[in-house]
Symmetry: C2
Subunit: 394 residues, 2 copies
């Protein structure tokens, strides 16, 4: 185990994670970074995600080691009564901060909340489901059924329509990420409650409901109920404000967002279009002091601004915008982010010696507490802690 | 205030939120659903997000009301000493669960952590930044600079390359969502710690670092460090496993994911391609029992499977797949999700009477605690609670 330094906010918590893929391992990793002891339990040989891509030249999974940093690893024969008892013993072991199970392998009577609560009444269990009925679902299927791919990607050019039956999947598994963070939050909320009341909790979190709740909160599922509309596909524009990508003279591309009137005035000034924008505003009766009209006239405005971007290199563009209030960023690829030294320059990242991968810059928890980042140690070797942590191992 | 029913896990917590846009209001909403009292403070007339699109016919913001459900609303003249003192008084008021500020309007000496801690030493502040250096950034600019748009969307057809300079923005502001949930988790972790140790915390959470930490954890920033590679653009395929969209005979489209060997065998059986898949495996020496080879041969396999999808209607396809283990979902639009009755059928959603919008089905917190969803009441009228909650209002 890594020396965790000063007590972290979740020190004393002990979480058993019977998990695979993204959401529940991310829950455990995040709790671990915040100071909890996290023990990942796998079947002997590993779960379905143990060799998942990307992999290093020797076959070590970059994915698995990234998501399981800082955890202990126990392997058990979960088809045997002894293995199942060992898991239950781990979860229900005494200790104020223990009695916590996070899993995406629920629906098994032998490790149900009630079964565990019969051994430790204040147990907290969090079961991550695909769908609330227990049916399977993963990030990409959830997103397909919800509606984001139908409004992502190039439009015919005018926007305001669905993409002619085309769909574009989001690459980032955002629902997995949101579910993992929701899971961590729900567990810590339950722990805080238990420390005051002694009460255990049975928490169930369906991935599909994470997506539906988020889309509902952000308005996507409210619009059709209020006025029958559905969020239109607007390509690379930002809905409801002024924002778009612009190609530059040297083949680069820059994302530009003008949320406020000040941003927008600065964008017109930098691109030398103030007179044209003012004339357009007068002639049309639009009010570019409102986000609504900046959005409504986005294509005319973009065509005006685009001339300046096309006439300047990416460096010239970013230098000029950096001297203004306009929100902007060059589009980059992951290897460019690494090659340009962003990780070395950011205290969020620190060298981690990971067996199978060697030393690389790994990210800490994204928040600082009193100015300090909280890191996690390397991922364990599968099963490395079985002997130490279970009677089964002896 | 809505009757919250039985005590919720965060009951007794009291959070002051000086916020706008997505991440920090989502933090407050989530804490409110879990039982905290959340008081949103705005400048008189509202913050920059008060009229944000989408809006209802009478101009009420669907966006603002969605993200601020269940909160109280206080408006203050934050340019005046009296208004600033009123904000500090709200944050530092006595009470075990109080003394908590969440804001994306940091960097102001008059409401700095140190200034607040001089009045209440155990204060917990969470400041959401764009960048860690205090510079501005929003979800779309962060994502552009990180690399996801460069590997999203259609490829030339062969995959394995960047998209020829094309970029596709993700529509879902996933970093805002992740930052809001990270913020809520960090605050609750700090509260749990304070209840044990009496210690306050100064938490800083940059949106850019949320994105970098997530991309790092998921391997996107590790691959370039290990072997110089960058995650390729693979269109609508899922990286590292078998998953893709397929068009159907009646113009529909279905997302299909076969994560495990069982899923994959079922997909070959349903599509009537078992013999062809077996022959392909023998002839090439591939092992379709591994995710790596199913991914590596994705284009050949997809072309085989696609014939069956193209020959069947969406209903036929989904019926056949539903009788198998294959993960799948029809692509839909947001209005289809609503029109097909998903919200009525899901206890996650309950009618909410929202002034300006009327009654609509609003989402609760996505997790159930002991079988119960936790809802939030309607969003407040701007400034409705100023008199009740501040001396300034009297």
């Amino acid at each position: 185990m890594t020396d965790l330094g000063e007590p972290r906010p979740l020190s004393g918590m002990r979480v058993i994670e019977l998990s695979s893929f993204v959401a529940s391992p991310l829950c455990g990793l995040t709790l671990s970074q915040l100071g909890a002891e996290v023990i990942r339990v796998d079947p002997v040989g590993g779960a379905a995600d143990v060799h998942r891509w990307p992999v290093a030249p020797d076959g070590t999974s970059i994915y698995w080691t990234g998501l399981n940093r800082g955890k202990s690893s126990v392997t058990l024969d979960l088809r045997s009564d002894r293995g199942r008892q060992a898991l239950r013993d781990l979860v229900t072991a005494p200790g104020e901060g223990g009695g916590i199970l996070v899993t995406n392998s629920g629906g098994r009577d032998w490790m149900s909340h009630d079964r565990l609560a019969s051994a430790r009444p204040d147990v907290i269990t969090l079961e991550l489901l695909g769908r609330r009925d227990g049916g399977p679902a993963v990030d990409y299927t959830v997103n397909a059924g919800l509606g984001f791919p139908a409004i992502t990607g190039p439009t015919g050019g005018q926007g305001g329509e669905q993409n002619g039956g085309q769909v574009v999947n989001h690459v980032l598994p955002a629902w997995d990420v949101a579910a993992g963070l929701h899971a961590a939050l729900a567990v810590v909320a339950a722990v805080r409650d238990r420390e005051r009341t002694g009460r255990g909790r049975r928490i169930v979190l369906p991935l599909d409901d994470v997506a539906l709740a988020t889309a509902g909160t952000l308005g996507y599922l409210t619009e059709p109920q209020i006025d029958g509309s559905s969020r239109p596909a607007v390509g690379n524009y930002v809905y409801g404000t002024f924002g778009r990508d612009f190609p530059t003279a040297d083949g680069g591309r820059v994302m530009v967002v003008a949320l406020t009137t000040r941003h927008f005035h600065d964008l017109a000034r930098v691109t030398g279009t103030r007179d044209a924008v003012d004339a357009l505003e007068s002639a049309t009766g639009a009010d570019f002091g409102t986000e609504a009209d900046r959005y409504s006239y986005r294509e005319v405005l973009s065509a005006l601004f685009a001339r300046w971007f096309a006439a300047h290199t990416t460096d010239e563009v970013t230098r000029a915008l950096a001297a203004s209030s306009v929100l902007h960023e060059r589009y980059r690829t992951f290897d460019q982010v690494v090659a340009e030294g962003d990780l070395e320059a950011n205290p969020l990242f620190a060298p981690l010696e990971q067996p199978g991968l060697g030393s690389y810059l790994a990210a800490a928890h994204p928040a600082t507490f009193d100015g300090r980042h909280m890191t996690a140690g390397p991922a364990p070797t599968l099963g490395a802690d079985t002997d130490r942590l279970t009677a089964e191992g002896h």
